[in-house]
Amino acid sequence: MNTPALKCHASLTHLDWLESESIHILREVAGQCSNPALLFSGGKDSLVLLRLAEKAFRPGRFPFPLLNIDTGHNYSEVIDFRDFRACQLNERLIVRSVEDSIRRGTVVLKSPFESRNRHQSVTLLEAIEEFGFDCCIGGGRRDEEKARAKERIFSFRDEFGQWDPKNQRPELWDLFNARVHKGENIRAFPISNWTELDVWQYIERETLQLPTIYFAHRRTVVRKNGLLQPVTELTPAQANDAVEELSVRFRTVGDITCTAPVESTADTVARIIEETATTTVTERGETRLDDQISDVAMELRKKEGYF
């Protein structure tokens, strides 16, 4: 066997490497696109994006505004935090709301309390058209779900904002292609290669502030299909629901009607990292009422029979 002589140059830690890759991607967006925007919800992934944008562009200002598509179904802590953070960074925040699209008649609801996750895309496309954005930077990660594993870092969308898996550009080395014709646009995902654990480790390392609902707190919930459904004005308890008050935290933050918290006593980032490193359920599997999966505890037992 032919082992090359080891000349040991220093290398980056995995977090430094990921951070550097993300900064590189953000700077490519700035260098290649004429009118980008950064999608900012106040959630943890987009807060990581903001930190990376600071690292990429300070002492200058961000070469893009922050854009939030407000479903009107958000936890107020998250919205407050969104505004606080944008103000703290002294960057421009544009908010466009699904409510306005409903009023305009471009979003038609089947029922008043249905999840507005799906409808966000209409409002987003309207905002893209209004401002003429040619690129939207998002916090999507490839480890989130199967479909995302094949997502490009620079993902091409046609005039209808559609992702066509058959019509994606090959992505080689770190040579990204953000070229578009008028009306088309690019979604850029600077933290594609991060996992949920990487995100938490980075939050800890950078001592990033987060909305309080990411940390353990008492909340009234009901159990539905193995997931916890918070009791809120939008999602009131039904007559036969057993209402409980539990210590919970949110792993993801989205539309109130479809984002479930998990039982947890982790009240610091360090404790959340510990839980994340030892969790047995994927981020979406545990928290998305709209991805309905079956009971987890039972699966564990079933699984042990197989392996």
Binding site: T3, H14, G60, A147, W173, N177, V180, G285, E299
Partner: protein, 426 residues
């Protein structure tokens, strides 16, 4: 000297690798096994795999389901392209680029290989070295992957025979020697039961070498093995000019990522393509001024002199510059569904620089199974050929063999804006 010690204390960093092989070779099972044994598959994913396995009448969970495409894609028979998977050993983070087979294989593998530092080439122990194996080895070589692991899988189906294993290793060495790949290792394994992947198992006792995971854990990081020339393509120029802060009034920071080598304050540099000389005044990140920075770090460089620098320029070490040229010869893999038309102009993007390019000649097309050179008028998807380009603007290049960043480019069709080719400069 002590500058390196000031860099943050590290874990074992990150390794990007590629798996080459078809489903029949047990590639999906191998990836599933790595993820499962490193406890990176979570319960709900495993459950849905278990349900599917049960529905298909299998006795155990089929780990290959993990890398199966989306149901819709399977139903529609769409060729799925490169998928990326992640796991951590606790000591190191891994990114797997998984390129499936099918007729678009070359294109997929070239894409997946472009960012990989190690390739696992799967061989079915019953079949030995096939023409497919040769193609994989050649493409791994073409894309400059420095570390190769030949995983001889399904040892359980040939009664764990050491003699058969040795024969396959010899066959592989025979043709790979000609390619000149430095670090090739062989591992006998059974992905189905997990022998020699994370656990050694008990059936391959005659094999004394490391398991697959041990090899992955010990592979040196990219850029750590040899001295490299400093290359810094400028991505963005920071000119804040904020009236409130007089210190920033004349601030001109050149932002980018160090693609290779390292740089220290005071080092003499050239700005390409102009060739203007200056030296490094400061290396900044958001909250630090660094004495030295290394490959893969994203930093902001400040120069001592007022030199005109913009996106697309490259800062290089004065003592070891890159070639500034208006003509390049390159091995090109054609990725587009529309064939290359030698009469047309294309756009070439290399580092942060774009230029229009005309095709001067297609010297030959390479049959990657036999390595025979054949004449070619145009190039179709998956073809690999030696192409000579004439450039409208100069590029600052190194040979790909020397530098995988400054030696690489993509070809863009301006009509569609699609990425239609990948090139490696000779």
């Amino acid at each position: 000297m002590s500058a390196i010690e000031q860099l943050p204390e590290i874990d074992n960093g990150l390794l990007r690798f590629l798996t080459c092989g078809s489903v029949d070779d047990g590639k999906s099972t191998l990836i599933g096994r790595l993820l499962y044994d490193s406890k990176s598959i979570l319960t709900d994913t495993l459950h849905s795999m278990a349900c599917t396995s049960e529905r298909r009448g299998l006795e155990a969970v089929d780990l290959s389901l993990l890398t199966d495409g989306l149901q819709a894609e399977r139903e529609q028979g769409i060729t799925i392209d490169v998928a990326y998977r992640y796991f951590t050993s606790g000591r190191r983070k891994y990114i797997i680029a998984d390129a499936p087979g099918h007729e678009q294989y070359t294109r997929n593998m070239v894409t997946a290989a472009s960012t990989a530092h190690l390739a696992i080439i799967l061989v079915d122990a019953r079949k030995g070295v096939l023409s497919q194996t040769r193609r994989h080895a050649y493409l791994a070589h073409l894309l400059g992957i420095p570390h190769i692991v030949v995983a001889i899988n399904k040892m359980d189906l040939i009664e764990h025979s050491q003699a058969a294993y040795e024969r396959i290793c010899d066959d592989y060495r025979e043709f790979s020697a000609a390619l000149g790949i430095g670090d090739v290792r062989f591992v006998p394994m059974s992905a189905l039961v997990g022998d020699m992947i994370v656990e050694r198992g008990e059936r391959l006792d005659w094999y004394q070498g490391p398991t697959l995971l041990e090899i992955l854990e010990c592979t040196p990081n990219a850029h750590s093995e040899r001295d490299e020339a400093f290359r810094f393509p400028v991505q963005y120029v920071c000119r804040p000019r904020q009236g409130s802060d007089p210190n920033l009034h004349d601030y001109r920071g050149f932002m980018g990522r160090i693609e290779s080598g390292e740089i220290a304050v005071g080092d003499e540099v050239l700005v390409l393509p102009s060739g203007k000389r200056s030296s490094i005044k400061a290396i900044e990140t958001i909250d630090q001024s660094l004495p030295l920075a290394i490959a893969e770090q994203s930093v902001t460089l400040l120069l001592e002199d007022e030199v005109d620098v913009s996106r697309g320029d490259m800062i290089v070490s004065a003592g070891n510059s890159a070639l500034v040229t208006r003509q390049i010869e390159a091995m090109v893999c054609w990725l587009g569904e529309v064939p290359l038309d030698p009469r047309r102009k294309y756009l070439i993007r290399q580092t942060t620089r774009d230029t229009r390019a005309a095709i001067e000649a297609i010297d030959y097309r390479l049959d990657i199974t036999t390595l025979q050179k054949r004449p070619a008028e145009n190039l179709e998807m998956n073809d690999i050929a030696l192409v000579v380009f004439k450039l409208a603007q100069p590029l600052c290049v190194d040979s790909y063999a020397e530098n995988r960043s400054t030696g690489a480019f993509i070809v863009i069709d301006e009509a569609t804006n699609n990425t239609v080719g990948a090139g490696m400069i000779l």
